[in-house]
């Protein structure tokens, strides 16, 4: 067997072995009382957009694509979800302090406005997460409104 063949075989074996190392899934299956839809008045249309385009990385419930079962793609995904949830977790939004909620809403507004979110690398594989101009406008308006409400209700 030539060296190249041996190398390919080794890589193949490694790839087969890593398939057995599956990261834990981020699927709680329930909507917590702290979910943003429970603590803030989110219009139905915005809820739908958030759930399709944002919740996979920013909530406790990820809808996994088929390739999540293929390593190392599954690991990559798990890391993205973990990072996404640290930044902003819609499932636990209600548990944030008022000041943090207001800042998160502002960050939502800004990232949508300048297009840093959803990540372009994510959009490459998730066409349903692409936001139309209307989607964007609705999210921005809602975020502004919700932030104003928070600031008015401040003690």
């Amino acid at each position: 067997m030539s060296r190249i063949k041996k190398m390919l075989l080794a890589i193949l074996i490694i790839l087969i072995v890593i398939q057995f190392i599956q990261p834990a899934r981020n699927t709680s299956g329930q909507v917590l009382q702290t979910d943003i839809v429970k603590v803030s008045n989110v219009p139905q249309s915005v809820q739908t957009v958030l759930k399709t385009a944002c919740y996979d990385c920013h909530s406790n419930n990820t809808r996994y694509p088929w390739y999540a079962n293929v390593q190392p793609m599954g690991w990559l995904l798990a890391r993205h979800v973990k990072e996404g949830k640290t930044e902003l977790n819609f499932s636990e939004f209600g548990a944030y302090s008022t000041r943090r909620q207001a800042n998160k809403l502002r960050a939502i507004e800004n990232t949508i406005k300048d297009g840093t979110m959803p990540l372009s690398s994510y959009l490459l594989l998730h066409k349903d997460a692409r936001l139309t101009e209307t989607d964007k406008k609705e999210i921005i308006n809602w975020a502004l409104q919700a932030k104003d409400n928070l600031e008015q209700n401040k003690p």
Partner: protein, 193 residues
């Protein structure tokens, strides 16, 4: 068979490449952290000690770094703020201060962390600096700092919504626009100690 093997190999190469990139930025963050702790300005020995002294001095170096358009120094200062926050002994605070600190802590630390990890992206650092400045104002008002500070306002930042910052000098050196508009803004309040 061969094509599959090559495809798999490619994907693993891509994966490891990504991973390396991340490790590198982690290392950078580490070195930033280290140098930040070395370069934290020592506080005025005459000033009355206050539990948030380290946080305030980190914030002021951050403000000056941003006014000088120096993203790297800003990142170091951000890390210094995180470090100072980690050192706060919450149990030693009075009840009122403890309550306020608990409200501010998570938020302020997050902003400082983001500023620390975004060397090279000064626009993003300034966004977090805006939000951090609100937290700082509340902290400074409640804790005191042992020095007179100034609450300044720039009406143009954030699409003309405006933003505040805290300065140790009366003179305006705008941290939101840096050298592009160094004197934009005015002092709104003198925070006396």
């Amino acid at each position: 068979m061969k094509t599959i093997a090559i495809a798999l190999m490619m994907s693993s190469v891509v994966f490891t490449a990504c991973d390396n990139g991340n490790n590198k930025s982690d290392e950078n963050a580490e070195t930033n952290k280290r140098s930040a702790s070395e370069t934290t300005p020592s506080s005025n020995p005459n000033a009355e000690a206050t539990p948030i002294e380290g946080i305030v001095s980190g914030y002021l170096s951050l403000k000056n770094a941003l006014a000088n358009d120096n993203s790297k120094d800003a990142a170091n200062a951000g890390n210094a703020i995180v470090e100072a926050m980690n050192k706060i002994d919450k149990s030693s605070l009075t009840e009122d201060r403890m309550k306020l600190y608990a409200d501010v802590e998570e938020d302020a630390k997050e902003h400082a962390e983001h500023i620390g990890s975004n060397a090279g992206n000064i626009k993003h650092q300034r966004e977090h600096f805006d939000m951090l400045s609100k937290d700082m104002y509340d902290l400074v008002k409640s804790f005191g700092t042992g020095q007179t500070l100034y609450h300044a306002f720039c009406p143009m930042y954030n699409d003309n919504k405006g933003a505040y910052w805290i300065s140790e000098t009366k003179e305006i050196k705008n941290p939101y626009f840096g050298k592009e508009m160094p004197t934009c803004g005015e002092v709104k309040e003198e925070i006396k100690q």
